[in-house]
Symmetry: C2
Subunit: 129 residues, 2 copies
DNA sequence: CTGTATCCCCGAAGATACTG
DNA sequence: CAGTATCTTCGGGGATACAG
């Protein structure tokens, strides 16, 4: 691993990297684990797909809406907001009229593609059975 | 990536590795993407925690039940069954009386820890803000 | 000890209508 | 165009009882 255990408390990741989990895992502590939060964010219904589309190129709001078949306006907005809060996507407003909004991957978002590709690799290797 | 695009159809991963997604993503095709399925499996309420516990050492059924605070019998069994079907965990029955069952990570399961550690690394780097 | 079977609840996600 | 507001629906997950 790049730089040994930073101060990530007693989180899930510790089992993969270091000493381990407590004898009894309090529900709250587990839910606070940032790795848990990451996979749960990526594991919801639309997040990964949207990240991958933005990995291709930036998209306008309605462009995403048309391309992601079946997503509701509500969920598209909500998903983008979460990704924005996590600093994975950037939101750029063009002060035209009517206004245009472009979503794209941030640097942190592009870095996310690396572990994601690692996961994809694991999936592909697993297909051999 | 290790060996170029295998025959993974037009799946999500393609955006990270190669040419890209269709102009309009049919909902069904997206749900069939194995990477999507992987993150969605890991992103449910208990899976990651259980994988991490089994990464430490094998556990008996009730041992897990006690250690994973708040999990219901139903969900523990269900989670383990899915992981077993995915060949991530192994299930070993000891024909004692009463019977004992031990769960552990398979080879494929241990390989999963690598991309997971990569994800953890990304999370840790992201804390710098 | 290691489960399966039922029933129930609540929150995530969809549908629809409206707005700057 | 890019959203917000409200209502509804659906299924993931909890509780409980029972079984091999």
């Amino acid at each position: 691993m790049s730089d040994g255990n930073t101060d990530v408390p007693r989180h899930i990741v510790s089992a993969a990297l270091g000493p381990g989990l407590p004898a009894k895992v309090p529900a709250g502590e587990y839910e606070d684990c940032p790795v848990t939060q990451a996979v749960q964010m990526l594991g919801d219904k639309w997040t990964l797909l949207i990240v991958m589309m933005l990995a291709e190129r930036p998209h306008r709001y309605n462009e995403l809406r048309r391309r992601v078949e079946g997503i509701s306006q509500r969920m598209l907005t909500r998903t983008l907001r979460v990704l924005e809060e996590e600093r994975i996507v950037t939101r750029t407003v063009f002060p035209t009229v009517p206004p245009g909004v472009e979503y794209g991957l941030s640097e942190r978002g592009r870095e996310l593609l690396v572990p994601l590709a690692g996961l994809a690799d694991w999936v592909i290797r697993g297909r051999a059975a």
